[in-house]
Symmetry: C2
Subunit: 127 residues, 2 copies
């Protein structure tokens, strides 16, 4: 099954930073925080770097090479989601490149929108 | 001409936040800061939200709808760049969708990489 509806309780780790990105998730109900651990050189622990509202996607890095999650996502309420099998989607995109192009345009727009939001937050944090 | 090599002195505003995005720029030499004005509700003025090193692109929002620059870019040294006419590239992508798909994958990867960097910076700024 390529897409499956699921529910999770509050405080579920839906995707994990630096892990292979195999799920694209559409949030239907509830709220999700994006968290960056600062693992590695930084000393930051679990800083909030964004949030996902109903109707938005998370795990877009599962559609973009190198297919590794760049942050973690944790539910801050009970959530209802659609989980999409990203390797299956990626295989479809390879076979039907017109579909691939159409989907990639949407994914790129979603990432750009999140970048814009993150830059605004960074500007505010540095003000 | 779709692509043109140009040089600019230090402190040139190469692209301007919120303006129609018509140029994709490949930085060949020099350094560029990405700046967010905080125009609108915020009181932030010209916060640094990223930087571009030689070999990197800026103005990727000229390839992604709605084709509006999300931040400004200012040279912090004299720079040598290749300026690419984005409306021409977008027209080519529409005609040759396989090329469009290939380019969009690269643009999406560049935006994701920048998002990752910006999240790390935001995490550090909030620590």
């Amino acid at each position: 099954m390529i897409a499956e509806e699921k529910t999770y309780p509050k405080d579920t780790l839906l995707v994990k930073e630096n892990m292979p990105a195999n799920k694209l998730i559409l949030l239907l109900e509830g709220d999700v925080d994006l968290i960056y651990s600062g693992g590695g050189e930084g000393a930051v622990v679990n800083a909030l770097v964004g949030s996902i509202a109903p109707g938005e996607m998370l795990g877009v890095s599962s559609i973009i090479e190198p297919y590794v999650y760049i942050s973690s996502a944790r539910s801050t309420t009970p959530v209802k989601v659609v989980e999409i099998d990203s390797p299956a989607i990626r295989a479809l995109m390879q076979v039907d490149k017109l579909m691939g192009y159409a989907l990639m345009r949407n994914v790129a727009a979603a990432v750009l929108e999140r970048l814009k939001y993150t830059q605004v937050e960074l500007a505010a944090a540095r003000a």
